[in-house]
Amino acid sequence: MSLKGFHIVFITFSTLLAFGCGIWCLQLVQATGAAGYTVGAICSFFAALGLVVYGFWFYRKMKRLGIFT
């Protein structure tokens, strides 16, 4: 597997982590009602979304530049 392929795998796992953090924060919001965890959940979901957008951008860029190794 090339660095490009491994990078996409890594971004996929990072996205799952960010999404999981969001779920974890939501569970804590339900249990404690603390506002800090609500902010954490929102940030985590935005981070997950940002990583998905970045992943697609990266794939298209590599394809456009013809970097396949």
Binding site: L3, F10, L17, L51, L65
Partner: protein, 291 residues
């Protein structure tokens, strides 16, 4: 003497040699970290109720370090892409940012997170003396709520000599919030957002203590696995930073002038290693900080 297959594929494998080499190396690394993660899982599953701590690590700082490592993976791949496009100046910038990210990660770990733990104290109370410290443990309240009992009192140790001096018979501990107000519903769950220490001081007799120590690896299995895995991971980060710095220095520029594809392949191999190290952290962070 020329080393063969540094830029061209070897006919029998279809790959240049360093790529085969790094994947074999990463396979051995998977086994190394896989074994450690397995040990963590079994130690945790086998822990007695109340003996596996939660919420002792600084989640905001851990989150920041996670973001730094993810960012460094982005910049290392951009550095490699810049080399493939023969944009050396851009490569230098991206690689410089990657090195900086690695250094910041290590600095946070070694100058803040670990020392912060080394200054924290915990005393496991003997099972037959738990009742005596009910005002700090709140186990009646925990039992009513159906939660795991508390067996440890944590905080800042005021008399450090007590750790080594057998003539001192008690520990004076400035309590963490969870032990200062153990029946407060806010203490039912671990505090993942760090709270300041309370002003409450508890005196714990040594005779009532099963085991007491600063938060060092021998304190409990949680910290033993935490320091082992994050320490080994930190060594890998350090190794990556050293290799990237080597490529970033003039030696990389000289190689680029001689054979740019060779430098690009070297950066790709180092980048694969870096991604693996970052991927390990993607598992370390939720296991130790969140769950």
């Amino acid at each position: 003497m020329d080393i063969p297959y540094t830029t061209t594929a070897r006919p029998d494998t279809g790959l240049w040699n360093a790529k085969i080499g790094i994947w074999l190396f990463l396979a051995s690394e998977v086994m190394l970290f896989g074994g450690l993660f397995s040990a963590y899982v079994f130690l945790r599953l086998d822990a007695l109720p109340g003996y596996w701590p939660h919420g002792l690590l600084n989640v905001p700082v851990g989150t920041m370090n996670t973001a730094i490592l993810i960012g460094s993976s982005v910049t290392v791949v951009l550095a490699w892409a810049a080399l493939k496009m023969r944009q050396f100046n851009r490569y230098k910038i991206y690689m410089g940012i990657t090195i900086l990210c690695g250094i910041i990660f290590l600095a946070v770990k070694l100058a803040y997170e670990w020392p912060d733990k080394f200054q924290h104290f915990g005393a496991y109370i003997r099972q037959d003396r738990l009742e005596k410290y009910e005002e700090y443990l709140g186990n009646h309240h925990m039992l009513e709520r159906g939660l795991e009992p508390r067996v440890e009192i944590t905080g800042h140790l005021h008399n450090h000599d007590a750790l080594h001096d057998p003539n001192i018979h008690e520990y004076e501990v400035q309590l963490d919030q969870v032990n200062a107000a153990p029946t407060d519903p806010a203490s039912d769950r671990p505090h993942f957002w760090p709270l300041p220490k309370s002003q409450k001081i508890a005196v714990i007799e040594k005779a009532d203590v099963e085991h007491a120590e600063m938060f060092v690896p021998k304190h409990n299995t949680f910290f033993a696995t935490y320091f082992t895995i994050t320490g080994l991971h930190g060594l890998h980060v350090l190794g990556g930073v050293i290799v990237f710095t080597y490529f970033w220095l003039p030696i990389g520029a000289n190689l680029y002038k001689r054979n740019p594809e060779h430098l690009a392949n070297r950066v790709e191999v180092a980048g694969l290693f870096w991604h693996f190290v970052d991927l390990v952290w993607i598992f370390v962070f939720p296991l130790f900080y969140l769950l």
